[in-house]
C-alpha cells in the first residue's frame, strides 16, 4: 500500500469516546480525491511494533485539502485507538495510505437508504457529501444509545430525510418500517455492529429484497487469542503469533512481503493458501466462502487465528 507522511493539523473531541483527526500534506499539496465510503489505513508506531488501523474518511470526497477521520476509543481493544487518543497530537507526522473504497455507493440505485449504528456513521459522512452533489434521493437512519454518544450529530445537516434513533429517548429503529414501501431501485447500506447488519439482512429477506440491493461494511479488529506457531512454506521459517498480534502483523514483523488493504477481513487482499493444517483455523473474516472455511485450505492473516499442532502457509 502506498502511504505518505501527513501532518495532524486538527484533533477535536466529538464525544467523550470519539475524536476527530484531520491530516494534511506537510507542504500543503493536494491529496488524492476519493469516493464516499472510502477508508485510509493509519500507521501507528506502537511500542516495538507497528499497528495499522483502517478508518473511514468522514470529510468531503472532492476536497483534497485534507483527510478527516473519527476514532472511537476502545478501552478493551488492542491499543490502536488508545494510541490515537492518547499519543497523537497536532503537528505530528503519521503515515497514512491512499484512500481505498470497499463500501461505495451503487451508482445504478434510484434511491439510497443508509443505516448507521453508533460509530458506523463514519463512512456515511463522506457519502452524504457525494449524495448531495449527485442530487439523488436518499434517507439516513442513525441509531445511537444517547445523544452524548452520537459522534455523527455535529456533521449531520437538519433534513427531513435524516432520522435519528436514540435508544434512551425511546425511538428505536424499526427496520420493517424502513424497508417497506421503498421504491424500486432502492439500495440499502448498513454500517455498524454485526447484530445490526444481520438484523437488516434478515428484515430485508423477509420483505423480499434481493441480496444484490444490500451492502454492508463491518471492519473487524483482529481478535486476540492464544499464541500459535506458523511455518512459512517458502523459507521454512517458523514464527510465533502473540496473543494480541495478528498473523499479518507477525508476518510483517518478520519482514515477509504480503499484500493487504482493509486489515479487517473484508477486502481479500491478504488471502493466503494453507499447505498443511493439523488443527483448526479460527476463520474470523467476511471474505472466504463457507466451503473455503470448511476446507481449511485458505486463511485471512489479518483477522484469523489457528489452534492445533501444525499450520504451514504459502508465504
Amino acid at each position: 500500500m502506498i502511504a505518505q507522511m501527513l501532518r495532524v493539523t486538527e484533533k477535536e473531541a466529538l464525544t467523550p469516546l470519539v475524536t476527530r483527526f484531520r491530516f494534511e500534506h506537510p507542504d500543503g499539496a493536494p491529496l488524492p480525491l476519493f469516493s464516499g465510503g472510502a477508508h485510509v489505513v493509519v500507521e501507528m508506531p506502537y511500542g516495538d511494533m507497528l499497528r495499522r488501523n483502517a478508518y473511514s474518511l468522514i470529510s468531503a470526497p472532492d476536497d483534497g485539502s485534507g483527510y478527516e477521520i473519527a476514532v472511537r476509543r476502545e478501552d478493551n481493544g488492542r491499543g490502536g485507538s488508545r494510541f490515537m487518543h492518547g499519543n497523537v497530537a497536532t503537528g505530528d507526522l503519521m503515515a497514512v495510505t491512499s484512500p481505498f473504497n470497499l463500501f461505495s455507493l451503487d451508482l445504478r440505485a434510484r434511491k439510497h437508504v443508509l443505516i448507521a449504528g453508533g460509530i458506523g456513521i463514519t463512512p456515511f459522512l463522506s457519502q452524504l457529501h457525494q449524495l448531495s452533489r449527485m442530487q439523488v434521493p436518499f434517507e439516513l437512519h442513525y441509531a445511537a444509545r444517547s445523544r452524548e454518544e452520537a459522534a455523527g450529530l455535529t456533521f449531520l445537516p437538519s433534513l427531513p430525510h435524516i432520522h435519528l434513533h436514540i435508544s434512551n429517548e425511546g425511538n428505536r429503529m424499526d427496520l420493517g418500517a424502513i424497508l417497506s414501501g421503498q421504491p424500486l431501485g432502492t439500495h440499502v447500506y448498513t454500517c455498524g455492529p454485526e447484530g445490526l447488519i444481520a438484523a437488516v439482512e434478515d428484515a430485508a429477506r423477509r420483505h423480499g429484497w434481493p441480496a444484490a440491493a444490500l451492502h454492508s461494511e463491518a471492519f473487524l479488529s483482529p481478535p486476540p487469542g492464544k499464541p500459535f506457531k506458523v511455518t512459512l512454506a517458502r523459507s521454512g521459517q517458523t514464527l510465533t503469533v502473540g496473543p494480541h498480534q495478528s498473523l499479518l502483523e507477525a508476518l510483517e514483523a518478520a519482514r515477509i512481503d504480503i499484500p493487504w488493504s482493509c486489515r479487517g477481513g473484508a477486502c481479500g487482499q491478504c488471502e493466503t493458501a494453507v499447505t498443511s493444517c493439523k488443527g483448526r483455523i479460527e476463520h474470523n473474516d467476511h471474505w472466504l466462502s463457507d466451503d473455503d472455511c470448511a476446507a481449511q485450505t485458505k486463511i485471512m492473516p489479518c483477522v484469523s487465528r489457528f489452534e492445533g499442532q501444525e499450520l504451514i502457509i504459502d508465504r
Binding site: 414501501g181 421503498q182 421504491p183 424500486l184 431501485g185 420483505h207 423480499g208 429484497w209 434481493p210 444484490a212
Partner: protein
C-alpha cells in the same frame, strides 16, 4: 410440447427455468400464449403466490382464460397484445415497491421486452424470473438500422425495417430485450446462406 430445452450457447443468451414461488407477497405476473400454463403450474405448486398477484395475460390464440380467471389473483387483466397493456404494466411497475417479484412466462419476445421494461423501472434483476413456453420465435434487433423485427423464425431473415439479410445471433441485449441480427452478406453481397428454421 410447450417446454423447450435450448442448446448451450454463449453467456449472453438468456436461460430459463421453471418459475419458483416466493410465496405470498407483492407480485406482478405477465404471460402470453402458452406462458399461461407456466403460471397455472406455479399456482398449483403454491396457491399463496396468487394472494397479492397482479396478473396480466395476453392469450395470443391460446385458451387458458377460464383457468386463469379461476386463479382469483388480486388483480387480473387480459389484453390482445403487449402494446395494449404497456401503459398498465408501466403503472404497475411505477407503483411497485422493493420486495415486489416479477414472474414472466411465454415467448422470448414477451420475456425480453417485459424484463427490459422492469429493469428500466428499477426492479433488480434478481427479482425477475422467467419461464419460456411455446414458440421459439425471437425478437431481433438489426445492429445496422436498429429496427426491431418481432417473431423471427428463420435464419437468416430479412430486416423488416432496412431490408438487409440478417444472421440470427445468440448475443442478447438486456437493455433492449432483443437478440442481435447482423448482416449475413456484408463481405460478399448477394451470397446468402439458405434460409433455415431457427433451432432451440
Amino acid at each position: 410440447m410447450t417446454r423447450v430445452t435450448f442448446s448451450p450457447s454463449i453467456l449472453s443468451r438468456p436461460v430459463y427455468a421453471p418459475l419458483e414461488s416466493h410465496g405470498a407477497g407483492p407480485t406482478i405476473m405477465l404471460c402470453d400464449a402458452e406462458g399461461a400454463a407456466a403460471i397455472l403450474d406455479l399456482a398449483e405448486r403454491d396457491p399463496a403466490v396468487m394472494d397479492y398477484a397482479h396478473v396480466i395475460y395476453i392469450p395470443s390464440g391460446s385458451d387458458y382464460t377460464v383457468r386463469m380467471r379461476a386463479l382469483e389473483a388480486r388483480q387480473y387483466h387480459e389484453a390482445p397484445s403487449y402494446d395494449a397493456i404497456t401503459a398498465r404494466y408501466r403503472k404497475a411497475l411505477a407503483d411497485a415497491t422493493m420486495g415486489t417479484r416479477l414472474y414472466l412466462a411465454g415467448t422470448e419476445g414477451l420475456i425480453g421486452k417485459a424484463a427490459a421494461e422492469a429493469l428500466a423501472a428499477g426492479l433488480p434483476a434478481q427479482a425477475i424470473q422467467a419461464e419460456h413456453r411455446g414458440s421459439i420465435a425471437r425478437r431481433m434487433q438489426c445492429v445496422h438500422c436498429k429496427g426491431v423485427t418481432e417473431d423471427v423464425t428463420t435464419d437468416p431473415f430479412t430486416c423488416s425495417h432496412c431490408g438487409l439479410t440478417l444472421f440470427v445471433r445468440d448475443h442478447f441485449s438486456r437493455r433492449l430485450g432483443a437478440f442481435q441480427g447482423v448482416c449475413v452478406d456484408a463481405e460478399t453481397p448477394g451470397e446468402v446462406p439458405e434460409r433455415q428454421e431457427i433451432l432451440p
